[in-house]
Homo-oligomer: 299 residues x 2
């Protein structure tokens, strides 16, 4: 997805293009650059301030995508350089979750906050950590992988090869597994397991009063609350924002998460740190996040 | 302890005074201020650039000590203000571990590093986290309490009232307990438990080949390595520094910690983050740390 976003977060253009159609990144860059150039002509009173990119496995320092498992492009892709060569403008790139976190800071609920944590509850659990008003990239640009904090050393198998990572419990994938385990333990016959049961399906079941579904949210929230309480011991944020499919389940996920969070917080942090829903719209977050990279830089 | 430190980290004066002799903080401030003023006269070619204070439960933003359980002074003490009223100079205050972390950055092994974590292994486990070249204070100045990350929700009772905090395992107190548990499980009759067994005692036993002592270090390192690997997922530091009594045990603690650390790291972080002994001398760290608050500010 790409588009044009003005400095107030207004989306002037939004288009979708699939990386899958482009065997090499140079072709995608050419096509998207052309479309951006043409689209920009429709807004003669605007000037292109720069290009922000949110990408899987994005390296902020180098402007590269590095060994992204879900992309066809292999190895290290200098995507920022490719775009700046084409468009002759400032290009900044970071990973999706960091971009969305900056989007929350510039256009969303974290406006004016200097210390907050942003969590995306999608297929996995992504995160962006802001402290002292700056994104924490770490020495290698790969900071903020809270989804891969090991919660239980002998816990669930994670896609990363280790066991017990937070995202094996607290993500769409995690809650599906929890729900499915609960159903099996209760000998519920169901064809719904596997493909059909996604976070939305479990939310709907919970709304209908299904005990396993509600229990799955409670279990997920209990672990998420513990993990977030531990996170506070690192950066003591003013607020923690939850984004993504699972966060859309509202009280089903927020209530047990907050309860567990307060229970597990060190006393000095109690009753002063908010867990809030992201103010970015699901469909606009990627675009606003990417654009906010540039608008933050220019602020 | 107070003193005079020049901008190269040379200690010109070091004196000790006990807070216990002063029922109210104003008296301590008066006495120490007078001694500093007189001592400064001995160095006519130096100018007092400011006063840095490392204090238990120190609030950097407010310059206060807040409800420190180990001090006689109760409530909130505006220590920075008291000193600046007396000495008419810039006064900065933070907690002990943060001050030592800044000391490591200005005068020790973290010179030139923008992202590192500093861990003190004393009675408890203290920490200071530096990211983007800045100390992370969080929204309330109480960030960096890695010692109170809950490692095992039903683990050892912690002094904070919760269970399973990292410092109940990885600290002088923690290893004493581990050693003592090991001895009991092996039915070792010993009068050495309790008062006598401190980290140094266990280190000496390990040097003498005592299996329980070596095992106690291995167990401590296993948990510390896991906790540090999880910490990397937050801020991806260039290095992690270990300071304090337990760190003085050298390979007995560093070897199992590093092994566990690499084993538990997410693959993107492997083989690139160093676990290093602090370069601050045990007896000078508090003084250098406090002074570095001012020298960092003036850099």
């Amino acid at each position: 997805m790409f588009g044009l976003v003005d400095k107030n977060g207004k989306i002037l253009l939004k288009e979708t293009v699939s990386t899958e159609h482009f065997p090499v990144p140079e072709d995608l860059v050419m096509v998207v650059s052309e479309r951006i150039r043409k689209a920009a002509l429709q807004f003669p009173d605007h000037e292109l301030a720069g290009v922000g990119i949110g990408a899987p496995n994005g390296n902020f320092f180098k402007g590269t995508i590095e060994f992204a498992p879900n992309l066809k492009w292999e190895g290290v892709i200098p995507l920022a350089e490719l775009f700046s060569d084409r468009l002759k403008t400032k290009v900044m790139l970071t990973n999706d979750a960091n971009a969305a976190a900056i989007g929350e800071m510039i256009f969303g609920g974290a406006k004016g906050m200097k210390d907050f944590i942003f969590i995306t509850l999608g297929t996995g659990l992504g995160s962006g950590i802001v402290a002292n008003g700056e994104m924490i990239y770490g020495h290698d640009s790969f900071a903020g992988e809270i989804g891969h904090v090991i919660m239980f050393p002998d816990g669930r198998q994670c896609g990363c090869g280790r066991k017990g990572c937070l995202e094996t419990y607290c993500s769409a994938t995690g809650i599906k597994r929890t729900f499915s385990d609960l159903q099996m333990s209760h000998h519920v016959k169901t064809d719904m397991r596997g493909l059909v049961a996604d976070a939305k399906f479990i939310h709907e079941k919970a709304l209908a009063g299904d005990k396993d579904a509600i229990e799955a949210f409670n279990y997920t929230g209990e672990i998420l609350g513990l993990a977030l309480a531990n996170s506070v011991a690192y950066t003591s944020p003013q607020a923690i924002f939850l984004f993504g499919g699972l966060a859309l389940a509202g009280d089903f996920i927020f209530r047990p998460t907050r309860t567990s969070f307060e229970k597990h917080l060190l006393h000095i942090y109690r009753n002063k740190i908010k867990i809030l829903p992201s103010q970015l719209k699901e469909n606009d977050a990627a675009l606003l996040g990417a654009a906010s990279l540039i608008w933050k830089e220019l602020k």
